[in-house]
């Protein structure tokens, strides 16, 4: 029986474009490192995840569709969806999935790829938050809420600061805003640890096309 290898040969119906191939490879490298990542092909499309998700009503792609679209090869569309930025990491889908698919961790993996590839939907700047957060940690070793929010709003929506003023004032009046960041003593040690760990987050080994089709590619949906 002849099997279709979507990563090789002339473009045929259902074959991935070059960008899609790259994204898929990157994603597979990521999910390869998630416990149970290969279970993706066990999804029975029951929709329990979507039904359990507190924000699915605001998503353009529901958690169930995330799995379906991935298996159909629509990685780029997934990375452009606002779903991956809307997920609040509440783990309700993961808890209830009858196929024990780690949906939350998969969405994390999609976020990481999107950040790496520089893909984010306009006006949904959640990634700026994550990035500002990591910069804070490298600088101080701790996360400084006021600085985090200020930088975030200045970079994304200065008007948002105005909208948040009431909340900020209320917290300040009750002694809950700190005006100076905490810095840890041994920041050098932390920076060394981060620098070393970063080397492991760069692509380690290229996933081969066989691995792509075998793990979660078209084969898993019976093509």
């Amino acid at each position: 029986m002849k099997t279709l290898d979507p990563l090789a040969g002339p473009i045929a119906p259902g074959v991935l474009s070059k960008t899609e191939q790259e994204l898929r490879t990157a994603f597979l490298e990521e999910i390869d490192r998630i416990p149970g990542g290969a279970r993706l092909n066990q999804c029975i499309q029951c929709g329990t995840c979507t039904a359990s998700c507190p924000v699915s009503h605001a998503m353009d792609v529901t958690p169930r569709q995330v799995i379906a679209m991935f298996r159909a090869g629509a990685i780029e569309e997934l990375l452009e969806s606002r779903t991956i930025w809307l997920c609040a990491s509440c783990y309700h889908c993961t808890l209830r999935c009858p196929a024990q698919i780690h949906i939350t961790d998969l969405i994390y993996a999609l976020k990481r790829i999107a950040i790496e590839e520089g893909i984010f939907p306009a006006r949904f700047p959640v990634h700026v938050m994550s990035e500002t957060f990591t910069k804070n940690v490298k600088r101080y070793g701790r996360n400084y809420e006021v600085g985090l929010l200020l930088r975030y709003f200045l970079r994304t929506k200065p008007l948002g600061l105005f909208a948040q003023r009431r909340a900020g004032y209320a917290l300040w009046r009750h002694g809950r805003i700190k005006l100076r960041p905490d810095k840890i003593k041994d920041i050098d040690q932390l920076r060394k640890i981060i620098a070393k760990a970063e080397t492991f987050d760069l692509p380690q080994e290229k996933v081969t096309s066989e691995k792509v089709t075998a793990a979660v590619g078209y084969e898993s949906i019976g093509r």
Partner: protein, 307 residues
């Protein structure tokens, strides 16, 4: 009893969650348990780091565990996000040898090593299992009869790693605890729903909707306070109180930490448990109890699973 714990406050407890910090320290002190703050702790990595760099997230979090191993006491992390990040790191390193090797190498670059000997625990579980309800009841000096809390557990202490050994869909430990202390917890079905977490900054409309729903439920069930176990849940729900206009709540409702309520019951003053930091202070008071009646009252559990 003098037990010792390594206390990991995390970033929030030094700022927006200051009342949680105060009440944690007050309660543990009153009970004669020592909370030793982890030396030179760093950010736990939380959910934001995980979405940028995975190994870095684990390594950052593992530095804390490595330092905690010097004393070997259990790590107590009150913030749900910290609890989850530290626990996830510990479990992840145990299960994934490759990840463990990488994290160990990263730690070694900073002259540290982790042998994963310390446990990561949440204070709710510590108070329930190490101290225990009978001891808390025995220590009670003030009545909680006026309190009708809606016990809110939120996400990350019930899943994916249950901090307290119970049904992740319907935890009852806080209800059991506060009922034993004489309070009257209301039935609160959305107790494990998400408060919106960090979405409050990035997508405020969505987050406000989630938090507002939780507040509305509590008001509809005639609770006179919401009790939380996490600084992010607390501030998200508390901030609903200052939301004005058509988006605002019908009533304001105090949002407290479970440790504040326990503190009041065992004789800490409102100042000691940081009550002044709540945006809306509770109307309910905790007057001293006589040595009388209700200590031997049977413990009843409110709430039943809805069909």
């Amino acid at each position: 009893m003098d037990t010792r714990y390594t206390y990991y406050p995390g970033c929030s407890l030094h700022a927006t969650g200051i009342a949680y910090d105060k009440s944690m320290r007050a309660v543990f002190k009153k009970l004669g348990s020592e909370l030793a703050e982890l030396e030179d702790w760093n950010c736990c990595g939380a959910t934001a780091y995980m979405s940028v760099q995975k190994t870095v997230a684990f390594a950052v979090s593992a530095r804390n565990l490595a330092i905690a191993e010097r004393t070997g006491d259990d790590v107590v992390a009150p913030c749900s996000a910290c609890y989850y990040a530290l626990k996830h790191t510990r479990v992840g390193m145990e299960e994934d040898a490759e990840l463990r090797a990488q994290v160990e190498e990263a730690l070694a670059a900073g002259g540290l090593e982790a042998d994963l000997s310390v446990e990561v625990r949440h204070p709710l579980e510590v108070l329930l299992n190490d101290i225990g309800i009978p001891r808390l009841v025995a220590e009670q000096t003030h009545s909680l009869e006026e309190f009708r809390p809606a016990c809110y557990y939120g996400c990350q202490i019930v899943r994916p790693f249950g901090a307290v050994d119970e049904d992740p869909e319907l935890p009852m430990s806080m209800e059991t605890l506060f009922t034993a202390l004489g309070a009257r917890p209301v039935e609160y079905p959305p107790k494990v729903r998400c408060c919106g977490g960090m979405l409050v900054a990035t997508m405020p409309q969505v987050a406000t909707e989630l938090s507002m729903d939780l507040v509305d439920w509590a008001i509809a069930r005639e609770a006179n306070c919401i009790v939380t176990v996490c600084p992010l849940c607390q501030s998200n729900l508390d901030l609903i109180n200052v939301t004005k206009g058509s988006n605002g709540p019908t009533h304001q409702i105090p949002v407290l930490y479970f440790t504040q309520l326990i503190g009041l019951a065992i004789g800490c003053t409102p100042e000691e448990v940081g009550m002044e930091h709540a945006l809306i202070p509770p109307d309910a008071k905790a007057p001293p109890v006589g040595v009388s009646s209700r200590h031997d009252a049977p413990v009843t559990i409110v709430g039943t699973r809805e069909a």
